[in-house]
Amino acid sequence: MDAFVLQVLNGLDKGGAYALIALGLTLVFGTLGVVNFAHGALFMLGAFCAVTFNLLLNLSERVEDPNITAFTAYIDQPYLETWLGDFGTQLMDYSVPLSILFTIPVMLAIGLAMERGLIRFFYKRSHAEQILVTFGLAIVLQEIIKSFFGANPIPVSAPDTFVGTAAIGSLIGLGEGVAYPYWRLIYLAFSIVVIAAVFSFLRFTTYGMVVRAGMADRETVGLLGINIQRRFTVVFGLAAIVAGLAGALYTPILPPDYHMGMDFLVLSFVVVVVGGMGSLGGAVAAGFLLGILQSFASMNEVKDLFPGIDQIIIYLVAVVVLLLRPRGLMGRKGVMET
């Protein structure tokens, strides 16, 4: 039972990342009708926003070390500590959560620039061409990041308070065996909050209502005198923010490198397709489902039974779902029925 709960938890935080990326993918697809292969690159850019923010906070000047008097030694004195004292140290410690504030405007800008600069010319083109051009864009973005940050993963640490594991087991009465890293729990909670925020934005605000109306019948909404194009562009920016946030907070779990976007992209596409193209709920459900399935498949007991299952489980599920339920788990009729 302990092992079971642990695997579910393990799957949930990875599933959270899948769900967030897949949510943005399917949102863009549902509104603009564009298949965005560069969405994984947005996730990666978000992670590097956190890295950049961390570097910015740690900007330091070289000063003489007062503790060593025998010879002149130098230490790096961060400006933040000089200016703000202990509060500055705290700020630096909390660089990852604070990077949210930095990531949101940056990703919004990137998303809007991408949509206005490239994607809008591809509304009317075939899906194959959309895939190809965004695939090219993804390569370009990841190579740019590579030339700035190098090819090696860059470790970013979570705040000291959240390092270590939470004894969830004793908390809910399951035994001591169930312990889980704090940061992963926070990531899970965070992804749920973001998903809830996106859903309530679409469900409960007038803006979101118009967007949903546009998804259902773009022409009629346009005829009612609403500039639906502008709203869809904003939705693209929103999707970029969601992917970016997912990446930024994922950095303590997985040190970001330039090709992490591609790795997650393939999986997120599978998630979207399993959930049903254009279905938001399906994307979220499938994200968590596949995350959990993957973590179950990597249990030793299962691996002994079916060797190699952990490597292929997601793809296997995708193939089976697509063959049995061609529209995915929650796909609607008439979406992508070519």
């Binding site: 061409e129 090219g136 370009v140 599978v270 193209m277 190699g308 793809y315 296997l316 061609p326």
Partner: protein, 381 residues
């Protein structure tokens, strides 16, 4: 328009093509590309692109999993070398057939869906093959190290006829060494044969059906034609081409690694086809040559070379120019590749062949003038 061309015209075209391919070592010398390694890559990826074009160019089905067939071909060929003989003929045949078997299975599953679902399914299955090659199938694929030939391999047939040697044997074609120019000419002959087959497919009623699938599959279904067998045949043929290319890679360099099956490798094949012009006969080959050529040239550049090139500029300008262009060469070759990909898809969806045709149309005003009144007449009536 293309279909009405006479068989005689086709034979001439293939003859010219054969001449061009076989004389590559001569006419590529001024470009600094006339060495066996690169020439082999040119022809092998030419085969790959020709095969991919039969699927993507004719039917419009965008497969993101062709690298898997390439890998299967390579692995089977190397296993033939290890187990039976270093002669390349059985290796190539088995490599192609194995890829064909895989293509039947994968194609049968994937072709139940179309459009983006087809792309995702091929991607998923190819990733599955790649992951399996890396993990569970290590006894067959030798995992990360890659499959290599060792002096201690059994090689049953060779052991019957040849003296056993201590060193690692090279691939041969009945005694002709297949690693240098010999390998190039072997692959070149394969490319010419496969190109001939592809021309025949393009001109055949079967090719016409594939085009019909691309332009309007629904209409074809309404006329009572079941499109799936045609699609499956096209998929298997292009998979076998990829398997052939993979086994030829193993022929010229008897080593097979899983990285050949990664989905970025599939992306490169797609790019070759698009760059040259999907659906045209020569386009994909041209694209493969251009990409392999620039990959080779660009990744060999370094800062010293760049300083030489920009040495005519004043010092500050020179360092700026070098700094900027250094991002695009050497390690940054992929950046150039990505940009090229985007520019081609945005501005020249028909590929280089389309661009070439446009230029030709510009240069021949007579034809354009002759065509223009015809349009006006149509509009008037």
């Amino acid at each position: 328009m293309m279909i009405t061309r006479s068989p005689r015209h086709d034979m001439m075209m293939i003859g010219v093509f054969a001449l061009v391919v076989l004389t590559m070592p001569i006419w590529l010398a001024p470009f600094g590309a006339a060495y066996p390694d690169l020439l082999q890559k040119f022809v092998i990826f030419g085969i790959m692109a020709v095969g991919y074009n039969i699927l993507f160019g004719l039917t419009g089905y965008l497969s993101f999993g062709h690298a898997a067939f390439l890998g299967v071909g390579s692995y089977s060929a190397v296993w033939m070398f290890k187990l039976f003989t270093m002669n390349v003929i059985p290796a190539v045949i088995i490599g192609t057939l194995m890829a064909g078997v895989f293509a039947v299975v994968i194609g049968y599953v994937c072709l139940r869906r179309s459009g983006i679902y087809f792309s995702i399914l091929t991607l998923a299955l190819a990733q599955m093959c790649y992951n399996l090659a890396y993990s569970v199938l290590t006894p067959i694929t030798n995992g990360e190290t890659g499959l290599q030939i060792r002096p201690t391999d059994p090689r049953i047939i060779d052991a019957m006829f040849l003296e056993p040697t201590e060193r690692v044997p090279t691939t041969t074609l009945f005694g002709i060494d297949m690693t240098g120019y010999g390998g190039f000419y072997f692959c070149a002959v394969a490319l010419i044969i496969t190109f001939f087959i592809s021309v025949r497919i393009f001109r055949s009623p079967f090719g016409l059906k594939l085009r019909a699938i691309k332009s309007n599959q629904n209409r074809l279904n309404y006329t009572g034609i079941n499109t799936r067998p045609y699609l499956l045949i096209a998929f298997v043929i292009s998979g076998m081409y990829a398997g052939l290319a993979g086994s030829l890679l193993a022929v010229t360099d008897p080593l097979a690694g899983a990285e050949r099956m990664q989905w970025t490798a599939s992306g490169e094949i797609v790019l070759m086809t698009i760059l040259g012009g999907a659906g045209t006969l020569f386009g994909p080959i041209l694209g493969a040559w251009i990409i392999k050529y620039f990959e080779n040239i660009f990744s060999a550049f370094n800062d010293g070379r760049l300083h030489e090139i920009f040495s005519f500029l004043p010092d500050t300008l020179e360092s700026i120019a070098v700094g900027i262009s250094a991002q695009f060469v050497g390690e940054g070759w992929h950046l150039t590749l990505g940009l090229m990909f985007m520019l081609i898809v945005i501005f020249l969806p028909g590929g280089l062949i389309e661009g070439f045709n446009r230029i030709v149309a510009r240069l021949r005003p007579g034809q354009a003038r002759r065509r223009a009144p015809a349009v006006e007449e149509k509009e008037a009536s």
